[in-house]
Protein backbone atom coordinates (compact mmCIF):
# COMPACT_ATOMS: atom_id res chain seq x y z
CA UNK A 1 0.00 0.00 0.00
CA UNK A 2 1.22 3.41 -0.81
CA UNK A 3 1.88 5.50 2.28
CA UNK A 4 0.62 8.30 0.03
CA UNK A 5 -2.96 7.12 0.63
CA UNK A 6 -2.54 7.39 4.40
CA UNK A 7 -0.84 10.77 3.98
CA UNK A 8 -3.63 12.07 1.73
CA UNK A 9 -6.27 10.94 4.22
CA UNK A 10 -4.35 12.54 7.06
CA UNK A 11 -4.12 15.83 5.17
CA UNK A 12 -7.87 15.67 4.48
CA UNK A 13 -8.55 14.92 8.15
CA UNK A 14 -6.42 17.88 9.22
CA UNK A 15 -8.23 20.19 6.79
CA UNK A 16 -11.61 18.99 8.05
CA UNK A 17 -10.55 19.29 11.68
CA UNK A 18 -9.83 22.99 11.53
CA UNK A 19 -9.64 25.18 8.39
CA UNK A 20 -12.78 23.90 6.66
CA UNK A 21 -15.16 24.17 9.64
CA UNK A 22 -13.61 27.51 10.56
CA UNK A 23 -14.27 28.78 7.05
CA UNK A 24 -17.79 27.36 6.90
CA UNK A 25 -18.53 28.94 10.26
CA UNK A 26 -17.28 32.35 9.16
CA UNK A 27 -18.69 32.84 5.66
CA UNK A 28 -22.03 34.59 5.14
CA UNK A 29 -23.65 32.44 2.46
CA UNK A 30 -25.03 29.68 4.75
CA UNK A 31 -27.74 32.01 6.04
CA UNK A 32 -28.88 32.55 2.45
CA UNK A 33 -29.57 28.84 2.09
CA UNK A 34 -29.51 27.02 5.44
CA UNK A 35 -30.49 23.68 3.94
CA UNK A 36 -27.54 23.55 1.53
CA UNK A 37 -25.24 24.67 4.35
CA UNK A 38 -26.60 21.91 6.58
CA UNK A 39 -25.81 19.35 3.89
CA UNK A 40 -22.27 20.74 3.70
CA UNK A 41 -21.86 20.49 7.47
CA UNK A 42 -23.02 16.87 7.44
CA UNK A 43 -20.47 16.13 4.72
CA UNK A 44 -17.72 17.82 6.75
CA UNK A 45 -18.63 15.84 9.86
CA UNK A 46 -18.85 12.49 8.10
CA UNK A 47 -15.83 12.96 5.85
CA UNK A 48 -13.82 14.14 8.85
CA UNK A 49 -14.54 10.95 10.76
CA UNK A 50 -13.99 8.78 7.72
CA UNK A 51 -10.62 10.32 6.86
CA UNK A 52 -9.12 10.36 10.34
CA UNK A 53 -10.11 6.77 11.11
CA UNK A 54 -9.24 5.79 7.53
CA UNK A 55 -5.76 7.33 7.69
CA UNK A 56 -4.98 5.41 10.87
CA UNK A 57 -6.37 2.16 9.47
CA UNK A 58 -4.54 2.45 6.17
CA UNK A 59 -1.26 3.07 7.91
CA UNK A 60 -1.79 0.41 10.55
CA UNK A 61 -2.83 -2.29 8.10
CA UNK A 62 -0.12 -1.49 5.52
CA UNK A 63 1.98 -4.60 6.35
CA UNK A 64 -0.94 -6.89 5.48
CA UNK A 65 -1.70 -5.74 1.96
CA UNK A 66 -1.66 -3.09 -0.71
CA UNK A 67 -5.13 -1.71 -0.23
CA UNK A 68 -7.51 -1.46 2.67
CA UNK A 69 -9.96 -4.10 1.34
CA UNK A 70 -7.06 -6.45 0.60
CA UNK A 71 -5.33 -5.89 3.94
CA UNK A 72 -8.60 -6.10 5.85
CA UNK A 73 -9.42 -9.42 4.17
CA UNK A 74 -5.95 -10.74 4.94
CA UNK A 75 -6.34 -9.89 8.63
CA UNK A 76 -9.84 -11.36 8.80
CA UNK A 77 -8.76 -14.62 7.20
CA UNK A 78 -5.83 -14.83 9.60
CA UNK A 79 -3.03 -14.57 7.08
CA UNK A 80 0.23 -13.27 8.47
CA UNK A 81 1.63 -9.92 7.43
CA UNK A 82 3.80 -9.79 4.34
CA UNK A 83 5.96 -7.02 5.76
CA UNK A 84 7.23 -6.68 9.34
CA UNK A 85 4.68 -5.07 11.67
CA UNK A 86 6.27 -2.24 13.60
CA UNK A 87 5.18 -0.44 16.74
CA UNK A 88 3.77 2.50 14.83
CA UNK A 89 1.45 0.16 12.93
CA UNK A 90 0.05 -1.19 16.18
CA UNK A 91 -0.18 2.35 17.52
CA UNK A 92 -2.19 3.52 14.51
CA UNK A 93 -4.52 0.53 14.74
CA UNK A 94 -5.09 1.07 18.44
CA UNK A 95 -5.84 4.74 17.90
CA UNK A 96 -8.25 3.91 15.07
CA UNK A 97 -10.08 1.44 17.30
CA UNK A 98 -10.24 3.85 20.23
CA UNK A 99 -11.53 6.68 18.08
CA UNK A 100 -14.16 4.52 16.37
CA UNK A 101 -15.39 3.06 19.63
CA UNK A 102 -15.45 6.49 21.23
CA UNK A 103 -17.37 8.17 18.41
CA UNK A 104 -19.92 5.38 18.07
CA UNK A 105 -20.14 4.94 21.84
CA UNK A 106 -20.80 8.60 22.43
CA UNK A 107 -23.39 8.56 19.66
CA UNK A 108 -25.19 5.58 21.18
CA UNK A 109 -24.93 7.01 24.67
CA UNK A 110 -26.28 10.43 23.83
CA UNK A 111 -29.04 8.80 21.78
CA UNK A 112 -30.09 6.66 24.73
CA UNK A 113 -29.84 9.46 27.27
CA UNK A 114 -31.78 11.85 25.06
CA UNK A 115 -34.47 9.26 24.40
CA UNK A 116 -34.87 8.70 28.14
CA UNK A 117 -35.14 12.41 28.91
CA UNK A 118 -37.64 12.90 26.11
CA UNK A 119 -39.77 10.02 27.37
CA UNK A 120 -39.82 11.52 30.84
CA UNK A 121 -40.74 14.94 29.48
CA UNK A 122 -43.51 13.43 27.38
CA UNK A 123 -44.91 11.46 30.33
CA UNK A 124 -44.83 14.57 32.44
CA UNK A 125 -46.57 16.69 29.84
CA UNK A 126 -49.23 14.11 29.11
CA UNK A 127 -50.01 13.88 32.79
CA UNK A 128 -49.85 17.52 33.74
CA UNK A 129 -51.56 19.08 30.73
CA UNK A 130 -54.96 18.36 29.27
CA UNK A 131 -54.64 18.11 25.47
CA UNK A 132 -56.96 20.34 23.51
CA UNK A 133 -59.05 18.53 20.91
CA UNK A 134 -58.10 21.16 18.34
CA UNK A 135 -54.39 20.33 18.43
CA UNK A 136 -53.80 16.86 19.89
CA UNK A 137 -50.00 17.11 19.51
CA UNK A 138 -49.73 20.45 21.30
CA UNK A 139 -49.62 21.16 25.03
CA UNK A 140 -50.02 24.40 26.90
CA UNK A 141 -47.79 24.51 29.96
CA UNK A 142 -48.66 26.89 32.79
CA UNK A 143 -45.54 29.01 33.15
CA UNK A 144 -44.89 32.74 32.99
CA UNK A 145 -41.69 32.55 30.88
CA UNK A 146 -42.35 32.83 27.13
CA UNK A 147 -41.13 29.48 25.86
CA UNK A 148 -41.94 27.24 22.92
CA UNK A 149 -40.24 23.97 22.06
CA UNK A 150 -40.88 20.57 20.64
CA UNK A 151 -40.05 17.05 21.74
CA UNK A 152 -39.19 14.92 18.70
CA UNK A 153 -39.93 11.24 18.56
CA UNK A 154 -42.49 8.74 17.37
CA UNK A 155 -45.22 10.79 19.05
CA UNK A 156 -43.85 14.32 18.82
CA UNK A 157 -45.17 16.99 21.12
CA UNK A 158 -45.24 20.71 20.64
CA UNK A 159 -45.19 22.75 23.81
CA UNK A 160 -46.12 26.37 24.38
CA UNK A 161 -45.96 28.11 27.73
CA UNK A 162 -48.86 30.24 28.92
CA UNK A 163 -46.37 33.12 29.09
CA UNK A 164 -45.72 32.74 25.35
CA UNK A 165 -49.43 32.72 24.52
CA UNK A 166 -49.98 35.80 26.66
CA UNK A 167 -47.19 37.80 24.98
CA UNK A 168 -48.01 37.07 21.35
CA UNK A 169 -50.95 37.89 19.11
CA UNK A 170 -52.63 35.18 17.03
CA UNK A 171 -50.49 35.65 13.91
CA UNK A 172 -47.27 35.60 15.90
CA UNK A 173 -48.39 32.49 17.74
CA UNK A 174 -49.17 30.79 14.44
CA UNK A 175 -45.65 31.68 13.27
CA UNK A 176 -44.11 30.11 16.37
CA UNK A 177 -46.16 26.95 15.94
CA UNK A 178 -45.24 26.74 12.24
CA UNK A 179 -41.55 27.10 13.19
CA UNK A 180 -41.74 24.25 15.71
CA UNK A 181 -43.72 22.05 13.32
CA UNK A 182 -41.01 22.62 10.71
CA UNK A 183 -38.42 21.20 13.15
CA UNK A 184 -40.54 18.12 13.66
CA UNK A 185 -41.44 17.65 9.99
CA UNK A 186 -37.81 17.76 8.87
CA UNK A 187 -36.42 15.78 11.82
CA UNK A 188 -33.91 18.48 12.66
CA UNK A 189 -32.80 16.66 15.81
CA UNK A 190 -31.09 14.09 13.57
CA UNK A 191 -29.00 16.80 11.85
CA UNK A 192 -27.57 17.70 15.23
CA UNK A 193 -26.73 14.18 16.34
CA UNK A 194 -23.33 13.73 14.56
CA UNK A 195 -22.11 17.03 15.96
CA UNK A 196 -23.20 16.14 19.46
CA UNK A 197 -21.05 13.03 19.09
CA UNK A 198 -18.06 14.97 17.75
CA UNK A 199 -18.24 17.55 20.50
CA UNK A 200 -18.58 14.93 23.24
CA UNK A 201 -15.89 12.64 21.79
CA UNK A 202 -13.31 15.35 21.11
CA UNK A 203 -13.96 18.25 23.47
CA UNK A 204 -10.42 19.48 22.84
CA UNK A 205 -11.19 20.11 19.18
CA UNK A 206 -12.47 23.70 18.98
CA UNK A 207 -13.97 23.03 15.56
CA UNK A 208 -16.35 20.47 17.07
CA UNK A 209 -18.04 22.97 19.37
CA UNK A 210 -18.06 25.54 16.59
CA UNK A 211 -19.64 23.13 14.13
CA UNK A 212 -22.29 22.15 16.66
CA UNK A 213 -23.20 25.79 17.31
CA UNK A 214 -23.30 26.56 13.58
CA UNK A 215 -25.58 23.61 12.86
CA UNK A 216 -27.93 24.58 15.69
CA UNK A 217 -28.17 28.06 14.26
CA UNK A 218 -28.77 26.83 10.72
CA UNK A 219 -31.48 24.45 11.87
CA UNK A 220 -33.30 27.41 13.43
CA UNK A 221 -32.96 29.44 10.23
CA UNK A 222 -34.19 26.52 8.16
CA UNK A 223 -37.23 26.17 10.43
CA UNK A 224 -37.88 29.91 10.01
CA UNK A 225 -37.81 29.49 6.23
CA UNK A 226 -40.15 26.50 6.31
CA UNK A 227 -42.50 28.38 8.63
CA UNK A 228 -42.61 31.40 6.30
CA UNK A 229 -43.70 29.20 3.42
CA UNK A 230 -46.81 28.10 5.32
CA UNK A 231 -47.76 31.44 6.86
CA UNK A 232 -50.35 33.80 5.47
CA UNK A 233 -50.87 37.41 6.49
CA UNK A 234 -49.55 40.62 4.99
CA UNK A 235 -45.95 40.32 6.19
CA UNK A 236 -45.10 36.88 7.63
CA UNK A 237 -41.38 37.71 7.84
CA UNK A 238 -42.10 40.61 10.14
CA UNK A 239 -44.61 38.61 12.18
CA UNK A 240 -42.07 35.87 12.81
CA UNK A 241 -39.33 38.40 13.61
CA UNK A 242 -41.62 40.10 16.11
CA UNK A 243 -42.42 36.77 17.72
CA UNK A 244 -38.70 36.04 18.09
CA UNK A 245 -37.98 39.43 19.60
CA UNK A 246 -40.88 39.20 22.05
CA UNK A 247 -39.90 35.68 23.10
CA UNK A 248 -36.23 36.60 23.43
CA UNK A 249 -36.87 39.76 25.42
CA UNK A 250 -39.42 38.04 27.62
CA UNK A 251 -37.46 38.71 30.76
CA UNK A 252 -37.81 42.37 29.75
CA UNK A 253 -37.63 45.11 32.33
CA UNK A 254 -34.95 47.72 32.67
CA UNK A 255 -32.51 47.71 29.81
CA UNK A 256 -29.12 49.16 30.63
CA UNK A 257 -27.51 50.91 27.69
CA UNK A 258 -23.91 51.75 26.92
CA UNK A 259 -22.78 48.15 26.97
CA UNK A 260 -21.05 46.66 23.98
CA UNK A 261 -23.36 45.62 21.21
CA UNK A 262 -23.20 41.91 20.58
CA UNK A 263 -24.41 41.55 17.04
CA UNK A 264 -22.89 38.13 16.62
CA UNK A 265 -25.49 36.13 18.44
CA UNK A 266 -27.67 33.55 16.76
CA UNK A 267 -30.93 35.26 17.69
CA UNK A 268 -29.80 38.57 16.21
CA UNK A 269 -28.66 36.82 13.03
CA UNK A 270 -32.08 35.19 12.71
CA UNK A 271 -33.97 38.44 13.12
CA UNK A 272 -31.65 40.30 10.75
CA UNK A 273 -32.19 37.79 7.97
CA UNK A 274 -35.96 37.92 8.53
CA UNK A 275 -36.35 41.70 8.35
CA UNK A 276 -33.65 42.32 5.73
CA UNK A 277 -33.65 39.07 3.76
CA UNK A 278 -30.41 38.35 1.89
CA UNK A 279 -30.84 37.35 -1.77
CA UNK A 280 -31.30 33.60 -2.18
CA UNK A 281 -28.29 31.63 -3.34
CA UNK A 282 -28.16 31.47 -7.17
CA UNK A 283 -28.88 27.97 -8.53
CA UNK A 284 -25.30 27.62 -9.78
CA UNK A 285 -23.88 28.37 -6.34
CA UNK A 286 -26.32 25.94 -4.76
CA UNK A 287 -25.28 23.23 -7.18
CA UNK A 288 -21.60 23.96 -6.60
CA UNK A 289 -22.00 23.74 -2.82
CA UNK A 290 -23.89 20.45 -3.06
CA UNK A 291 -21.30 19.09 -5.49
CA UNK A 292 -18.51 20.09 -3.13
CA UNK A 293 -20.30 18.30 -0.29
CA UNK A 294 -20.62 15.19 -2.44
CA UNK A 295 -16.95 15.28 -3.44
CA UNK A 296 -15.95 15.79 0.16
CA UNK A 297 -17.62 12.51 1.04
CA UNK A 298 -16.42 10.76 -2.09
CA UNK A 299 -12.72 11.64 -1.59
CA UNK A 300 -12.05 9.63 1.58
CA UNK A 301 -14.30 6.81 0.37
CA UNK A 302 -12.35 6.46 -2.86
CA UNK A 303 -9.01 6.76 -1.09
CA UNK A 304 -10.03 4.00 1.27
CA UNK A 305 -11.42 1.56 -1.28
CA UNK A 306 -9.12 2.12 -4.23
CA UNK A 307 -6.35 -0.44 -4.60
CA UNK A 308 -3.00 1.28 -4.35
CA UNK A 309 -1.08 1.50 -7.59
Amino acid sequence: MLPATAAALAVLAALLAWPVPAWLGRVRWPRRDPLVALVCWQAVGLAGGLSIVGALLVHGLAPWGHSLPEAGWAVLTGRSAADPVRGDHWGALTLAAVLTVELLGVLALSWARTARTRRRHRELLELVVQPSPAAPDARLLEHPAPVAFCIPGARPLLVLSSGMVAELDDDQLAAVVAHERAHLAEHHHLYLLPFVAWEAALPVLPAAARAHAAVRELVEMRADDRALATLGGPDPRRTLAQAIVVAAGGAGGGVPDGALAVAGSAVVARVVRLVTPPPPLPPAARAAALLAAGLLLLAPTVLLLLPAV
Binding site: E126, A145, F149, S161, E180, L192, V219, A247, V268
Partner: protein, 119 residues
Protein backbone atom coordinates in the same frame (compact mmCIF):
# COMPACT_ATOMS: atom_id res chain seq x y z
CA UNK B 1 -63.20 3.33 26.17
CA UNK B 2 -60.68 5.65 27.72
CA UNK B 3 -57.01 5.12 27.04
CA UNK B 4 -54.61 4.29 29.85
CA UNK B 5 -52.97 7.71 29.48
CA UNK B 6 -56.35 9.33 29.83
CA UNK B 7 -57.08 7.32 32.98
CA UNK B 8 -53.70 8.22 34.43
CA UNK B 9 -54.43 11.89 33.91
CA UNK B 10 -57.86 11.55 35.50
CA UNK B 11 -56.45 9.76 38.55
CA UNK B 12 -53.70 12.38 38.91
CA UNK B 13 -56.30 15.14 38.70
CA UNK B 14 -58.23 13.49 41.53
CA UNK B 15 -55.11 13.07 43.66
CA UNK B 16 -54.10 16.66 43.08
CA UNK B 17 -57.58 17.86 43.99
CA UNK B 18 -57.77 15.73 47.15
CA UNK B 19 -56.90 17.19 50.53
CA UNK B 20 -54.69 14.30 51.59
CA UNK B 21 -53.70 10.75 50.67
CA UNK B 22 -56.46 8.68 49.06
CA UNK B 23 -56.96 4.91 49.05
CA UNK B 24 -57.61 3.06 45.79
CA UNK B 25 -61.21 2.33 46.80
CA UNK B 26 -61.73 6.03 47.42
CA UNK B 27 -60.47 6.83 43.95
CA UNK B 28 -62.77 4.21 42.44
CA UNK B 29 -65.74 5.77 44.24
CA UNK B 30 -64.72 9.27 43.25
CA UNK B 31 -64.56 8.13 39.64
CA UNK B 32 -67.80 6.18 39.90
CA UNK B 33 -69.20 7.72 36.72
CA UNK B 34 -66.44 5.93 34.78
CA UNK B 35 -67.32 2.53 36.26
CA UNK B 36 -63.75 1.44 36.93
CA UNK B 37 -62.89 -1.86 38.54
CA UNK B 38 -60.69 -1.68 41.62
CA UNK B 39 -57.99 -3.67 39.78
CA UNK B 40 -57.95 -1.05 37.02
CA UNK B 41 -57.44 1.70 39.58
CA UNK B 42 -54.58 -0.31 41.08
CA UNK B 43 -53.01 -0.84 37.65
CA UNK B 44 -53.14 2.87 36.93
CA UNK B 45 -51.73 3.71 40.35
CA UNK B 46 -48.82 1.31 40.04
CA UNK B 47 -48.00 2.70 36.60
CA UNK B 48 -48.01 6.20 38.05
CA UNK B 49 -45.86 5.01 40.93
CA UNK B 50 -43.35 3.43 38.54
CA UNK B 51 -43.12 6.74 36.69
CA UNK B 52 -42.50 8.51 39.98
CA UNK B 53 -45.62 10.65 40.05
CA UNK B 54 -47.31 8.91 42.97
CA UNK B 55 -46.19 7.45 46.28
CA UNK B 56 -48.05 5.43 48.90
CA UNK B 57 -47.92 5.29 52.68
CA UNK B 58 -47.90 2.25 54.98
CA UNK B 59 -51.52 2.47 56.11
CA UNK B 60 -53.87 -0.45 55.45
CA UNK B 61 -55.26 -0.17 52.86
CA UNK B 62 -52.44 1.80 51.28
CA UNK B 63 -53.18 5.42 50.55
CA UNK B 64 -51.71 7.30 47.60
CA UNK B 65 -50.62 10.87 47.14
CA UNK B 66 -48.85 12.81 44.39
CA UNK B 67 -45.09 13.25 44.78
CA UNK B 68 -45.29 16.85 43.61
CA UNK B 69 -47.91 19.41 42.68
CA UNK B 70 -48.86 20.09 39.10
CA UNK B 71 -47.04 23.42 39.32
CA UNK B 72 -43.88 21.77 40.63
CA UNK B 73 -43.84 19.35 37.71
CA UNK B 74 -44.32 22.20 35.24
CA UNK B 75 -41.58 24.20 36.94
CA UNK B 76 -39.18 21.25 36.85
CA UNK B 77 -39.75 20.73 33.15
CA UNK B 78 -39.28 24.42 32.40
CA UNK B 79 -36.13 24.48 34.47
CA UNK B 80 -34.64 21.78 32.24
CA UNK B 81 -35.89 23.36 29.05
CA UNK B 82 -34.47 26.74 29.99
CA UNK B 83 -31.11 25.01 29.99
CA UNK B 84 -30.06 25.47 33.55
CA UNK B 85 -29.87 21.75 34.14
CA UNK B 86 -30.29 18.44 32.41
CA UNK B 87 -29.85 17.49 28.83
CA UNK B 88 -30.19 20.28 26.35
CA UNK B 89 -30.28 17.81 23.47
CA UNK B 90 -33.53 16.34 24.68
CA UNK B 91 -35.51 19.39 23.81
CA UNK B 92 -34.90 20.29 20.26
CA UNK B 93 -34.86 23.88 19.62
CA UNK B 94 -36.42 26.06 22.10
CA UNK B 95 -38.02 28.61 19.84
CA UNK B 96 -35.59 31.27 21.01
CA UNK B 97 -32.76 31.02 23.46
CA UNK B 98 -32.30 33.75 26.01
CA UNK B 99 -30.56 36.97 25.06
CA UNK B 100 -28.95 39.53 27.30
CA UNK B 101 -30.58 42.92 27.81
CA UNK B 102 -28.28 44.67 25.37
CA UNK B 103 -29.18 42.21 22.62
CA UNK B 104 -32.85 42.57 23.43
CA UNK B 105 -32.52 46.34 22.97
CA UNK B 106 -30.66 45.84 19.71
CA UNK B 107 -33.40 43.53 18.45
CA UNK B 108 -36.22 45.96 19.28
CA UNK B 109 -34.29 48.76 17.60
CA UNK B 110 -33.83 46.58 14.53
CA UNK B 111 -37.58 45.95 14.33
CA UNK B 112 -38.34 49.68 14.66
CA UNK B 113 -35.84 50.66 11.98
CA UNK B 114 -37.26 48.20 9.51
CA UNK B 115 -40.90 48.93 10.30
CA UNK B 116 -42.95 49.62 7.18
CA UNK B 117 -43.09 53.40 6.82
CA UNK B 118 -46.49 53.51 5.18
CA UNK B 119 -48.54 54.63 8.12
Amino acid sequence: MASLGDLERTVMDRLWAADGPVAAAGLRDALAERGLALTTVHTVLSRLEAKGFVEHDDARPRRFRPTATREQHAAELMHEVLGRSGDRQAVLARFVGGVDPEEARLLRQLLEETAPDAR
